[in-house]
């Protein structure tokens, strides 16, 4: 036998229930466009607590006690989430690599009008012209200008690449650059997210143990986990009470409420390795002690891996150091070949053969032995020329007649025929360096060497770009399936809205009918 008031109670429960359901619909619609929001659904079940298993058949056939909300669940597919994080990590790597490779390519593009090959061409042309007119001061000036332009081009390319590398992994010769490098900034962001995660774990566990499902916090935590996956590859394991533990290729980063692995960047302590990998990422435990001294083999994808690869020296990926080494080889080999012709001195023949420049202090001008090198390094010697420090000897710049245009016999450093000022054979040899296969460049000409460099760079950059395109398509697919599972569909919500609104109306009608019945019963007693 049910009580007379049960009608009112059931109607009341119904009203509250539909009100709550409408709140959920409201929340869904409000958060329709919120990033990372998972659609929430009301789980409604029958109330059967007032019928026990030992009740009589008669009692069991009574009308039920109404409905109750069991839980408000969020739509989430954890498999899709972890798949997404894995592929997102790779996508971040490809995307970062693509950005960086575009920058590198722009600094070294020889298809533009102002590459190194362009400057080399001007040099060879000027040398040809000078060989045809060795006494002409205009031809000499132009030749000097071409050498200056070539050196400047080498310097500026090396400079751009060095700056790019410094912005990524810092410059070991200037420790203050490490703090502002991308690798440092990335580790700071990572660490902040890891501690946010640990804090969220705490709040979520507290909430869950009190019996409520903190949907908003769970959504926030999933967002943070997605963000983390773009920096490094992560694995998420669910624990009791909605705890999420994070590790990176086996290294534990967040375990429960604690950050067990935080990131730190230092200048490479190994002096033999610091040129190859200027910065080293380390993982510290919760007391600040180093638990992984070099984390690079664990950072296999994500934007951090891209920064380390491009700033490092791994020849299987595009890296700045490799390109700079090649440019240094080119500058050094070219300069030493040309310097060798400028200062030619072969004492093995009798008489000796030497290279001569023009001495304008006599009238008419005569030849004298050339003693000034053309290209210098930063200490004004010819021993350690690199792309960054190559420059033209200032003695040549101030007196272009010091360029050795002639070659011939000499005795004790004095040309046997010092009137041969019209001989351009020595500078013709400098022009013919164009066709000369240089040993230090792997037996190829300077221009072929650069062409091969460009081809190599093109292949690597093209493949990075293709990887990015195909990976983007994969991630877009997964992302679309994810939002399909978790997103808000306006039509669904509007149908739910009408559904619960009608149920509310019906429940309130039942309430007023129950009320009238009660009044009738009470009136009967009068």
């Amino acid at each position: 036998m049910t009580s007379s008031l049960s009608g009112i109670y059931n109607a009341q429960r119904s009203l509250l229930l539909n009100q709550a359901a409408l709140d959920v619909v409201n929340n869904n619609v409000a958060n329709m466009n919120t990033e990372g929001y998972s659609k929430q659904t009301v789980e409604i079940s029958q109330i059967t607590t007032n019928v026990s298993a030992n009740a009589s058949v008669y009692d069991a056939a009574q009308a039920g006690g109404g409905a109750q909300i069991d839980a408000i669940t969020r739509s989430r597919d954890t498999y899709l989430d972890s798949y997404y994080r894995q592929e997102n990590s790779t996508l971040s790597y490809d995307s970062k690599m693509s950005d960086l490779s575009t920058l590198v390519e722009d600094s070294t593009n020889e298809l533009s009008d102002s590459g190194i090959m362009d400057s080399l061409n001007s040099f060879y042309t000027a040398a040809q012209n000078l060989s045809n007119a060795p006494t002409d001061s205009v031809a000499r000036s132009e030749y000097v200008q071409s050498m200056v332009a070539l050196s400047d081009k080498f310097n500026s390319t090396a400079d751009q690449l060095t700056q790019l590398r410094t912005s990524l992994v810092g410059d070991p010769t200037d420790p203050s650059t490490l703090a502002t490098s991308q690798i440092s900034l990335t580790t700071e962001e990572l660490n902040s997210k890891l501690s946010q995660l640990a804090d969220l774990n705490k709040s979520i566990v507290l909430s869950t143990t009190q019996g409520t499902t903190p949907n908003g916090l769970l959504d926030t935590r999933d967002q943070i986990l997605d963000d983390l996956s773009s920096y490094i590859p992560i694995t998420v394991t669910q624990g009791a009470n909605n705890i999420a533990n994070v590790s990176m290729n086996g290294v534990s980063l967040v375990n429960g409420y604690n950050v067990e692995g935080s990131f730190s960047v230092i200048t490479n302590p190994d002096p033999t390795e610091v040129d190859n990998n200027p910065a080293v990422v380390q993982i510290l435990d919760k007391d600040g002690n180093v638990k992984v001294p070099d984390a690079s083999k664990y950072i296999t994808s994500g934007s951090m891996a891209a920064i380390l690869d491009v700033g490092g020296n791994d020849s299987s990926t595009l890296n700045i150091k490799g390109i700079m080494t090649q440019l240094d080889q080119l500058a050094s080999s070219f300069a030493s070949t040309v310097n060798g012709i400028q200062l030619y001195n072969d004492a093995s023949t009798t008489p000796a053969t030497g290279s001569f420049c023009i001495d304008n202090s006599t009238t008419p001008a005569t030849l004298k032995q050339a003693t000034e090198a053309l290209f210098y390094d930063d200490t004004n010697t010819t021993t350690n020329i690199t792309a960054a420090n190559i420059h033209v000897n200032s003695a040549i710049v101030s007196n272009p007649f010091e360029i050795a245009t002639a070659r011939g016999d000499m005795t004790a450093g004095v040309p046997d025929d010092n009137t041969a000022t019209g001989d351009g054979s020595n500078v013709l040899l400098m022009a013919q360096v164009r066709s000369q296969k240089l040993l230090a460049l792997g037996n190829t000409t300077a221009e072929s060497f650069i062409t091969a460099m460009q081809g190599e760079m093109g292949v690597k950059t093209e493949s990075i770009s293709n990887n990015l395109d195909s990976q983007q398509a994969v991630v877009d697919q997964i992302s679309s399936r994810k939002t399909s599972a978790t997103g808000v569909n306006l039509d669904e919500e509007l149908v739910d809205l009408v559904k619960y609104q009608r149920a509310y109306e019906a429940a309130s009608k039942i309430f007023s009918v129950s009320n009238e019945i009660l009044q009738t019963i009470i009136a009967m007693a009068k």
């Binding site: 533009s112 006494t135 306006l490």
Partner: protein, 317 residues
């Protein structure tokens, strides 16, 4: 495309954005290609085409260099040839004068006037031998700064340039590691005549055309006149003429070689330009038609997207 999936506003919006972005970026790419005219502007666009383009550039630049050298050398050698023609004219005139003088009927006055002309022709010849081209004395070997023929004493012509037995050649490159000599040493063509005061007693050094003219002049002034000596000079003049003609033929041969090389280089240049263009340039017609297709695609996607975004149940409630 999957069959039934739950479509949410987020995924629908994202997909619209992706499609539009995609279309726009393709449109952008085509626009860039058309306005620049090239389809390969950086190595990542096409690595193997890049290698072809850069190699073509190197070859084309080298050809430009060689053509420039050939042009300079040809001009200089044309000058040499013109001067040699003048020398031939002088020798012809001297032969006429010599024949006239060898005729035993001339008086001393007539011989003196022949001698005056011979002396003037000698000075003319010296002027020719001291010709400059582009600021260089072309008959001086590698000594191009000072006039090769000096006059230590009236009637003498001393050669101070690089002798034909020395390294007189001025070479220019006309193809990879291939050079030609563009000059003739003065003493080969003109000879010399002077008194060498470094020996004791002083000796007279002479050979070639200047020697012939100087000794002819001496013979014309001799008293008594030795007619056989004068007529003997005709043989020397023939030898000198043949020397000049040989030199002229040598120059002609070199100029021919330069012309042939120039034609070949110009042909090579055309082929290389075509090869480079195949690799680098766009096909304007097909790119433009791609562009209009892409514009249509973009428009269609924009229209469809806007329709999709507007409709929902709200319109009907």
């Amino acid at each position: 495309m999957s069959s039934y999936t739950r479509v949410t506003s987020t995924s629908s919006n994202q997909s619209i954005i992706n499609i539009i972005q995609n279309n726009r970026s393709k449109l952008n790419q085509l626009n860039e290609e058309i306005s620049s005219g090239v389809k390969v502007s950086k190595p990542s666009d096409d690595a193997s085409a890049t290698i072809n383009i850069l190699n073509s550039n190197v070859s084309l630049n080298k050809i430009d260099s060689y053509l420039s050298n050939i042009s300079t050398a040809t001009s200089e050698m044309d000058t040499v040839d013109t001067q040699l023609q003048s020398v031939v004219d002088i020798i012809d005139r001297v032969k006429v004068l010599t024949t006239q003088a060898a005729n035993g009927t001339n008086s001393t006055t007539e011989l003196a006037s022949v001698n005056t002309e011979i002396e003037q022709l000698t000075e003319s010849l010296k002027g020719i031998a001291n010709t400059q081209f582009g600021g260089k004395y072309i008959f001086g070997g590698v000594n191009t700064e000072t006039a090769p023929y000096t006059t230590p004493v009236d009637g003498e012509a001393q050669y101070t340039g690089t002798p034909q037995t020395g390294n007189y050649q001025r070479n220019t490159e006309i193809s990879d590691n291939i050079t030609v000599t563009t000059n003739l040493p003065g003493d080969q063509v003109f000879g010399y005549y002077y008194t060498d005061n470094s020996t004791s007693p002083a000796t007279v050094q002479g050979q070639g055309l200047f020697n012939t003219l100087a000794t002819l002049s001496t013979a014309l002034q001799a008293d008594p006149v030795d007619y056989s000596a004068i007529s003997g000079k005709l043989d020397d003049l023939d030898t000198d003429l043949s020397t000049v003609l040989t030199a002229s033929a040598q120059v002609g041969g070199t100029v021919n070689r330069l012309d042939m090389t120039k034609s070949k280089l110009e042909n090579d240049s055309v082929n290389l330009q075509s090869f480079k263009s195949d690799n680098q340039d766009i096909d304007m017609a097909s790119t433009i038609s791609n562009l209009s297709y892409q514009e249509t695609a973009l428009q269609a996607s924009l229209q469809v997207s806007s329709k999709m975004m507007k409709t929902s149940l709200l319109d009907y409630m």
